[in-house]
């Protein structure tokens, strides 16, 4: 198992506000501090509206914080970059490109396609899509499209892989398969990975640490270490204990503001 040297993330006093159409200001994140070590697998879990997607978007550089900053390996994050690859719940493959060209997109816009051509096929193979290079996105199933999106992000060798509920739209079997694939890829590549999820089991099954977030004021309520050896089984007593604990924290976090959450 590879552990990368790079991909060290720090969040310092993050604050992000949104102005709603009616003029009201909503605090999406407030006073958030966090540290993510190179090669770690982190899950963000919490009820809707707890700011976990905002956390991820700030980390991706798609929005900028109102106060505080994210740093990656000591450098402040100000803009989106290929160093932080992002996969959404919706695969958002470019429908006008074949799977091959979708995966090659990052290399092409960075003008390193000719040197790194081989990577495209390697990553297509890594996610198990060999034979579908010439297919168009609409010809793929949801799980296959998500694999392609993963390959597209990984081909850039990002320091950090950001996943925003990547398996949320998949059926239960596909989801479990994809979780295993993701762990396999993460163990092979050792890329620091930050995932937003609604699924407590998924968070425990995949992560080194779980950030449990609470809404309004949105912040990190609790950080839990998952001290279960890999490969993990979903019915181990430690697994179940941790799950009960997270549910309890979430329940508490949710009830305080009377907000609905999803498991």
């Amino acid at each position: 198992m590879v552990k990368s040297e790079t991909g060290y993330i720090r969040a310092e006093n993050l604050r992000k506000e949104f102005v709603q159409p009616d003029g009201q200001t909503v605090v999406a994140l407030s006073n958030v501090n966090a540290e993510i070590k190179p090669g770690e697998f982190i899950s963000l879990i919490g009820p809707s509206g707890c700011g976990k997607s905002t956390f991820l978007r700030l980390l991706a550089g798609l929005t900028t914080p109102d106060e505080g900053a994210f740093t990656l390996d000591g450098v402040k994050i100000t803009d989106a970059s290929y160093e932080r690859g992002l996969v959404f719940q919706d695969p958002t493959l470019f429908p006008w490109l074949t799977i091959y060209d979708n995966v090659a997109f990052g290399l092409k816009v960075r003008s390193i396609y000719h040197e790194k051509k081989k990577d495209v096929l390697d990553f297509i193979r890594l996610v198990g899509l060999q034979g579908f290079e010439k297919a168009y996105p609409h010809q793929l199933s949801g799980g296959m499209a998500q694999r392609a999106a993963l390959a597209r992000a990984l081909v850039n060798h990002p320091k950090v892989l950001l996943l925003d509920e990547p398996f949320g739209a998949l059926d239960a079997f596909t989801r479990m398969n994809m979780q295993d694939e993701l762990i396999k890829i993460w163990q092979e590549r050792g890329t620091t990975t930050v995932m937003v999820t609604h699924d407590v089991d998924e968070a425990i099954y995949l992560s080194d640490r779980i950030f449990v977030m609470s809404p309004r004021p949105a912040r990190i309520e609790n950080i839990l270490e998952v001290e279960i050896g890999r490969p993990r089984e979903r019915d181990l007593p430690e697994f179940l204990r941790l799950r009960a604990k997270i549910l309890q924290i979430l329940d508490f976090a949710g009830k305080r503001e009377d907000i609905q959450y999803y498991l």
């Binding site: 970059s81 290929y82 690859g85 992002l86 958002t92 429908p95 006008w96 816009v109 609409h138």
Partner: protein, 333 residues
């Protein structure tokens, strides 16, 4: 399914055995009927000119060609299906020619100056075909020049307006005011502004193509899902990549709608321009022949235009299908 298909291909007898579909003979029968009427029914006594052989020759050629297709259809299943499917329409079309022939030369039901018989229209091609082709060349040169300038300008303004707020602020109102004016309304101004009628007409056609291309390109680009841009920026794309590698391909379906509208507008403008003074195009030819009351030539010109324009539209459809191959099964229009 696949296995069955493979088996039938492996079975040579299944493939070789000729299959007859009676529908494949319909066009030939319809043409035969027209031929018999043309040859056996005497011309109207009011028709005093020398009889011409062209319609008879054309019908014999049609019978020959349709029979060849009918025979080939015996052996090739795909061809048979296509020929059988189209046969009713083709037969009806030949019947229409037949009726036209009866109504003109046989019964003289229609005013012969304005509604010439098929023989006379065919004679125009024999006598004047080379000149009509030359006219067509002039028309196409004007059409293509104007179309490409207009499409290019339309794409450019469409991208700028769809992409940048500043451009949208300054240019959008202009598009809204200038765009809806039919290009032909500019004729008086264009004629005095440009040195030649050719450049004036090029401008008018370009203007006609520019408007729909601009509007649909810009609305296509401003409607591209934001997540495509977000994902592309996390993959390393910069602004120019986002325009040319994301926004533009994502709006291609809309751009093609604009180009189709523009093509239609360019045909209208071309004809108007030629009828108003641009020399030697098919539109000019039609107008000229109309003034000389040679209606057979007018029809001959109209047929050339119909065939050419529908070929051009078909060509554009082919290009679209090629460019938008990724849309197959997603959107159809």
């Amino acid at each position: 399914m696949e296995k069955i298909a493979v088996q039938s291909e492996l079975n040579p007898e299944h493939k070789k055995k000729p299959v007859f579909d009676v529908r494949t003979l319909l066009p030939a029968l319809s043409a035969l009927l027209a031929l018999l009427i043309n040859v056996l029914v005497p011309n109207s006594p009011k028709y005093v000119q020398k009889p011409l052989p062209y319609f008879t020759i054309a019908l014999i050629a049609i019978i020959g060609i349709t029979l060849v297709f009918a025979v080939l259809s015996l052996f090739f299943e795909n061809l048979r299906k296509r020929v059988a499917f189209k046969s009713w329409f083709i037969a009806a079309f030949i019947l229409l020619l037949n009726i036209l022939n009866i109504a003109t030369i046989k019964l003289m039901l229609l005013q012969p100056i304005y509604f010439p018989n098929p023989d006379k229209i065919l004679k125009v091609y024999v006598d004047d075909g080379a000149f009509i082709l030359k006219c067509l060349g002039y028309s196409l040169r004007l059409l293509f020049t104007g179309f490409f300038i207009g499409a290019l300008a339309g794409l450019t303004t469409g991208i700028l307006v769809g992409w940048s707020r500043k451009w949208s602020y300054w240019v959008n109102p202009l598009i809204k005011i200038i765009g809806p004016i039919p290009a032909t309304a500019w004729v008086p101004i264009a004629l005095v502004t440009f040195p030649t009628t050719f450049t004036a007409s090029t401008f008018l056609i370009a203007l006609a193509v520019w408007f729909p291309t601009t509007v649909l390109t810009s609305s296509g680009i401003s409607n591209v899902q934001n997540s495509y841009f977000e994902v592309s920026s996390t993959l390393g794309a910069k602004a120019l990549h986002k325009i040319f590698k994301v926004a533009l391909p994502a709006s291609m379906p809309m751009i093609f709608i604009g180009l189709f509208n523009g093509t239609g507008a360019s045909f209208i403008t071309l004809m108007t321009a030629e009828m108003m003074g641009v020399k030697f195009g098919v539109g000019w030819y039609i107008n000229w022949q109309k003034d000389m009351l040679s209606y057979a030539n007018v029809y001959a010109g109209l047929i050339v235009i119909a065939v050419t324009f529908s070929l051009l539209i078909t060509l554009l459809f082919r290009v679209r299908d090629k460019v938008l191959v990724w849309q197959k099964g997603v959107i159809k229009w």
